[in-house]
Subunit: 443 residues, 2 copies
């Protein structure tokens, strides 16, 4: 009988092995994709692309025992040879090739210059060829940083006692409203895709006190803007025993501080590659909605058109104001008008026209919506009645409240928006692996 | 201007604070849900349920300054009093209450005995009232252990150089076949829900070499069995530069070993609560499909009915065989017949009727399907042609192969099945927070 006892050890090395001081002059073996080729005649530089970085290898006619004509960009190879220090090469090393084994060959050359620093293709073109264009070093680096954001979210909250949950994405009814829902048939029953894990994460605060979820959410909004996607990844948390929404702001600030230090520690290469300037989250200004409107209206001489909502330009101006006045990249805008928040948002007893809620703006874009929720069943029913809403389809949600729920609140962070703002990307499609929008369902 | 500088500090303590040696006799403050009440007349024991465990508190008439009549099961409270050692209480401590603040009150008593060790309700009834029944200590413990499995998956693979991705769940076409797909309308275009991240994770091996994803998958299968869900959480990985499928088995074995040690370390309380006997993954037998069939047929005298597939009873017998013969909880069954595997599975050149693939059985149930994939474009096209398949809707996938793909393979693990087998649950619905099946779309 054969037995599997663990991970198989390989003869091929990692970049972290190759850059060790004692490797100079040693025979090494490594694999990678031929990312680019600089052919100088008798000598050719093959740049290998690997998950951990790029490696310069040198193909020498008459020395390297391999057929150069079989090697093109996007040929996947295993190579061996002697490691040499070379200041001008990435990581200060290169491999003088003795042999090359071809693992897999492309049939066609790339339709875009994936190996170039900037591909020189439009966003639409890059998205159309996403499985290919993601091989570009800058493109893929964005999603390494995105991974870092998600890791930070989970690691930080896990340390704070949050339990990770997986709520269903297919449901019978919607958490809020019904206009923006994708509908489907579920074994002859009408069903919808979840536009948020809101109801589930709230109900779970009575089970685990603190819960988080990272998952897809679906919004059938007919917006075609730089800030909207119809499917995106939402970072959600919900926590019990809060005094008010400022507990949520505090927890988010803690996460942001942890995220920044984790990115600095583990994603330095990618930050450098993309020239990312990390923000500071040490001191995040917090300003009530109405005051924020007034401040920017006065400073920039812009009229207040809609007292109940912020338009994108107004968010940008608020971002600009707090950058100029306080050097802040983030700002909590609090006490949003009740009429613009969902029914479960807790009204402020001091002024019931506003809620105990907030948005977080990051460099002038809303990246988080959060707040305290109503936990009292009578209060919840009062609000539902006041809004003239039907409770149909909310039976389970309301049952949880009828049987007791802790004071609680939480937030949702749009992962693609957070990544875009961090990287200085203007379009949220840049930071979604395979975006879904009004006109895009592939690749 | 107000500033948020980090997580807010609270006066209430955590269980880890309370059990410190130096806390005896100290005034403490803690919050929780009233999980159960034992009323002895002048004295009443309130057991508080918190995320970190349960705490015994003692309400004494005339001493505790609070109205006992306002306190019921599922009242959420903050309490303060003096901490005393008490051997018979959970964690060896209790709090003699001085005061109680009611945070939130239930309107109705629980419809099931959530505070009991075993609720004595049918699975259907428990699922119907899931937001309530999850408050039961045993029920919630299952999902803590499930969290541990997911953490282990990500932590282990991250250390092995895997990048976490988020692939879209709405798509234009299916990864494989079309029979089991949920269909929806996407802005007047026909769309489907992803039954697997298969194509995306494969394409991403050319970008990051190693990728993983934890996310929902959707299967419109009309099975109503103890082992099927129509929406479940899939743990997927895919890795490049493999020699063959045994690299994938090795990586999975490494993950399982890590998972077992992480659960032992961080989820001891829950394992004990549920009396879980952790399996060993030190040495996992690996047996070809045809041989496995033969072995159990011979040992148990059962006929081989279908030479191309394993039925559930056969899987159980294979599990039993390897437990009896080798003391093994896991077994890799390899070389599945080609006709039962998807087109992208790599055939074994030594016998093209079987594939370089495997399932992992855990205590007699398939919890993983994996294998090496075809990476050569001509090979892939040959297989597609041989099967008489259309390439419609696979343009992007095939384009990635035309432009070069590394040798690669991967697997998908059903999270709910893995959890169920670990906990000894017979029905996979027990280990899904809010299951979706043929008849269940709520809660």
């Amino acid at each position: 009988m054969d037995f599997v006892t663990g991970k198989k050890e390989k003869k091929t090395l990692e970049l972290s092995d190759l850059i060790r001081e004692d490797m100079e002059g040693k025979e090494v073996r490594v694999n990678g994709a031929v990312h680019s080729i600089r052919n100088m005649g008798d000598i050719a530089f093959l740049i290998l692309r690997r998950r951990d970085g790029i490696i310069q290898t040198v193909f020498e006619k008459g020395i390297t025992q391999a057929d150069f004509s079989g090697i093109r960009e996007e040929t996947f190879i295993e190579v061996w040879g002697v490691l040499k220090k070379e200041e001008r090469a990435p990581h200060g090393i290169e491999i003088r090739l003795e042999g090359v084994r071809i693992l897999s060959e492309p049939q066609e050359p790339m339709p875009v210059a994936v190996s170039k620093w900037k591909m020189g293709a439009s966003l639409e073109a890059r998205l159309d060829m996403r499985p290919l264009t993601l091989r570009n070093l800058r493109e893929r680096a964005k999603f390494r940083i995105q991974e870092g954001i998600v890791r930070a979210f989970r690691e930080y909250l896990q340390k704070e006692g949050f339990t990770e949950i997986h709520s269903p994405k297919i449901g019978a009814r919607a958490a809020e409203g019904g206009a923006n829902l994708f509908r489907l048939e579920y074994f002859h029953h009408p069903a919808v895709l979840a536009q948020s894990p809101q109801f589930y994460k709230q109900m779970m605060t009575a089970v685990f006190d603190r819960v988080m979820e990272v998952g897809p959410v679906f919004r059938a909004e007919k917006h075609n803007t730089k800030r909207h996607l119809n499917e995106y990844t939402s970072l959600d948390f919900e926590m019990a025993y809060i005094d008010d929404f400022t507990d949520i702001c505090g927890m988010e600030t803690g996460f942001l501080q942890y995220m920044i230090s984790l990115l600095k520690r583990d994603y330095e290469k990618e930050l450098e590659l993309l020239k990312v300037e990390l923000p500071s989250a040490d001191r995040i200004p917090s300003v009530p909605f109405a005051q924020a409107k007034k401040l920017v209206s006065e400073k920039y001489g812009t009229p207040i058109r809609n007292p109940y909502d912020l338009d994108p330009e107004e968010e940008q101006r608020i971002g600009r104001y707090f950058k100029e006045e306080y050097g802040a990249d983030f700002v909590f805008v609090t006490h949003y008008p009740s009429k613009k928040r969902p029914f479960y948002a807790m009204d402020d007893p001091d002024d019931v026209s506003v809620t105990k809620s907030f948005d977080l703006l990051f460099r002038g874009l809303e990246v988080t919506t959060g707040g305290q929720r109503i936990h009292s069943y009578p209060e919840l029913m009062k609000k539902i009645e006041k809004r003239g809403m039907s409770t149909e389809g909310m039976e389970d949600y309301l049952s949880a409240f009828r049987h007791g729920m802790p004071p609680h609140g939480g937030l949702g962070i749009g992962l693609e928006r957070m990544t875009a703002q961090l990287l200085g990307e203007e379009n949220v499609r840049e930071t979604c692996l395979f975006p879904r929008d009004l006109g895009r369902l592939v690749p």
